[in-house]
């Protein structure tokens, strides 16, 4: 056990699974880098955010594959390799680039098993960075997990900390279905205690990050930190919150959310995505249908606005939900009745 950043924890998971299972391969743009360069140094990158460092020297070019800039071919090749018995971990550098290869996810990976029957399994993982906060603007900052969650046949993972990230990555690689694994850029440097040995965390089991009787706050990825910060401040005012991190949006741990709402009667959902067809809307609808009688106040959604992600720092910080907005939403649920 030692303190590791989320970057280190995911990297360790990749190392351990590649060592354990020779069917695991990694492919993507600059996952090692340096090929064809004039310095002669391979692994000049190890992934643009350093997530795949050390894999090439350890496992070699046959299993750590630098690709051209060809997202449709990357995910298509990962699909085919998975159908043919490998366990590919493909990288799409920024989730936004999924636009280039969406067919391979939407119509191919997601549907093999259903269309072809259970012998057709596609155990691939697609790693993507996501999220705003770096001034990277409209084409490099989206969260997009609501889009993926809406596709039957795809599992979607949204870790909020290093410990979960490692266990969920290992589970993703071992899973027999296609998994989209979304890494929030602003969380890469965040650290916590992470066991050195491999471990898998089950999909569809939320984490209760903080407990309290007054308000249920459900938050995703980076928003879990914001929800925890908001809950700390609310506790100082005597308002105690359950903070739930679903960890995977598909499958979603509906039971933990429902159980909490039945106890608190109040729900705030925090989602860094725009509001329409968001996870916030999804959870709110689920609770409205299945726990309506327990609600003491209207459900509050704290989301980004219905706009692309702006470039300027001042606008970007208005765009991203803040702990302050979560506090206001929780107080609003306390105010009704």
């Amino acid at each position: 056990m030692s303190i590791k950043t989320m970057r280190e924890a995911i990297n360790e998971a990749l190392h351990q699974e590649m060592a354990r299972d020779s069917r695991v391969i990694v492919l993507g743009e600059d996952v090692s880098g340096g090929a064809g360069g004039t310095s002669g140094q391979r692994e000049a990158a190890g992934g643009v955010f350093g997530l795949t460092k050390g894999l090439l020297p350890r496992f070699g070019e046959a299993r750590v594959i630098d690709t051209p800039i060809s997202e449709a071919a990357i995910i298509g090749a990962a699909n085919g390799a998975a159908l043919a018995g490998l366990r590919p971990v493909a990288e799409i550098m920024f989730a936004d680039f999924v636009g280039v290869c969406f067919d391979q996810i939407l119509n191919q990976a997601a549907k093999f098993r259903y269309m072809f029957g259970p012998n057709a399994k596609a155990p691939l993982v697609i790693r993507m960075t996501m999220g705003a906060g770096m001034g990277a603007a409209a084409q490099h900052s989206q969260t997009l997990y609501p889009l993926f969650t809406a596709i039957p046949g795809i599992k979607v993972v949204t870790p909020s900390n290093a410990y979960d990230a490692k266990g969920l990555m290992i589970a993703a690689i071992r899973d027999d279905d296609p998994v989209i694994f979304l890494e929030h850029k602003m969380l890469y440097g965040e650290s916590c205690e992470v066991p050195d040995e491999p471990y898998a965390l089950p999909f569809g089991e939320a984490a209760l990050v903080r407990s309290g009787d007054d308000v249920t706050i459900v938050a995703f990825a980076r928003m879990v930190n914001f929800a925890r910060a908001a809950a700390d401040k609310l506790a100082a005012q005597g308002i105690h919150c359950d903070v739930i991190d679903p960890r995977t949006t598909s499958p979603l741990d509906e039971d933990m959310i429902l159980e909490s709402v039945r106890a608190t009667g109040r729900l705030v959902v925090v989602d860094e995505s725009p509001p329409r067809c968001s996870l916030a809307a999804d959870v709110a609808a689920m609770v409205a249908e299945r726990a309506f009688g327990y609600l003491k106040a209207p459900v509050r959604q704290v989301t980004a606005p219905h706009t692309p992600v702006p470039f300027a720092n001042d606008l970007e910080s208005l765009y991203i939900p803040s702990p302050e907005k979560i506090i206001q939403a929780a107080l609003a649920t306390m105010a009704s009745r």
Binding site: G37, T38, P68, A136, Q139, P310, L315
Partner: protein, 322 residues
């Protein structure tokens, strides 16, 4: 090919604008006031200028993530670009686009683009509009060594040939695609032949030499402006800075950039050619450098003091009317 004195001065001015702009951003960026990623164009000036000097405001270009040079060459306003890069409300795109998404549609500049390969099909569409107007205008796109392997680029090349539209594909090969050498990711032994395979005539150019690029573009435009369909220019060049600002460039041999700067800089090459031929004097060129340095200087000062946004501005321009 003979350029007039005015054309020579104008081309040099445009190259100096790009160089000074980028060198200054390299100095300003570490101060932490510029959001997001910066991909600098220094070293490649002759490519953008060799093309854009022969375009008018009726012609279109579409750019890439490394877009400052293309924008400047197409006539985008320098102070407005600087405001944009600093994320100010008065920026060329209201501070919402930033370095990777600068555009000035009124000048036929259809945008820098954060998606590699996103622009080339868009330029085919602009070329359809040019063809329908029948005024001899063209659309051009810039494509790097890395982008040249994106499926969208292949589709755009094929569609342009099928439709016989006035489209110029400018390939600017700076030798790298992020941290990977350009040669690694292109399977074809002869990438020029690959473009010809689509049915597109290709004119090769030395991207370190404005005159070479200018000449190749001139030949391409002669075809595309006169109903001959799409053409391509293929130019070798280099970039002086990392893929993005902050890139340690572990993939490049030590001293490679310094050697290229000393021995094969496109601005120095131009200066030598025109002064040795007696076309312009060192004084002419120095004067332009002083003038542009002042312009960039004043742009940075103005950008640092630029206007921030009101919260309401977050919600504008999502739709025609919101």
């Amino acid at each position: 090919m003979q350029l007039s004195r005015e054309q020579l001065l104008q081309a040099f001015r445009s190259m100096v604008k790009i160089r000074e702009f980028e060198e200054r951003l390299h100095i300003e960026n570490p101060k932490g006031e510029i959001p997001g990623f910066l991909h600098l164009y220094a070293g490649q000036e002759a490519v953008a200028v060799g093309l854009c000097e022969q375009l008018t405001e009726r012609d279109y270009i579409i750019s890439t993530h490394r877009g400052h040079g293309h924008c400047i060459a197409k006539g985008c306003d320098i102070p407005a670009m600087m405001l944009e890069i600093y994320g100010r409300a008065d920026g060329l795109c209201n501070g919402k686009g930033g370095s990777m998404h600068i555009a000035d549609v009124t000048k036929g500049m259809l945008g820098a683009n954060g998606i590699v390969g996103g622009g080339q099909p868009i330029a085919v569409g602009a070329a359809i509009a040019c063809k329908m107007r029948g005024d001899g205008s063209v659309a051009a796109s810039f494509t790097g060594d890395g982008a040249a392997n994106q499926g969208t680029v292949f589709e755009a090349m094929n569609l342009a040939v099928v439709l016989q539209v006035p489209k110029v594909f400018m390939f600017e090969m700076n030798g790298y695609s992020e941290h990977t050498g350009g040669s690694y990711s292109t399977g074809a032994k002869d990438p020029v032949q690959r473009i010809r395979g689509f049915g597109i005539p290709v004119f090769e150019a030395d991207g370190f030499d404005l005159f070479s690029v200018y000449d190749a573009v001139r030949q391409a435009l002669e075809i595309s402006r006169n109903g001959g369909g799409p053409t391509a220019v293929y130019a070798q060049t280099t970039r002086y800075y990392g893929h993005f600002e902050g890139d340690p460039m572990l993939y490049r041999a030590p001293g490679e950039v310094e050697r290229l700067r000393a021995e094969n800089d496109c601005l120095q090459n131009f200066r030598r050619r025109v002064t040795e031929a007696g076309l312009l004097t060192a004084g002419d060129l120095d004067g332009i450098e002083v003038e542009i340095r002042a312009l960039v200087d004043h742009s940075v000062v103005a950008a640092k003091a630029g206007r921030g946004h009101t919260p309401a501005e977050l919600l504008t321009n999502v739709y025609a009317s919101y």
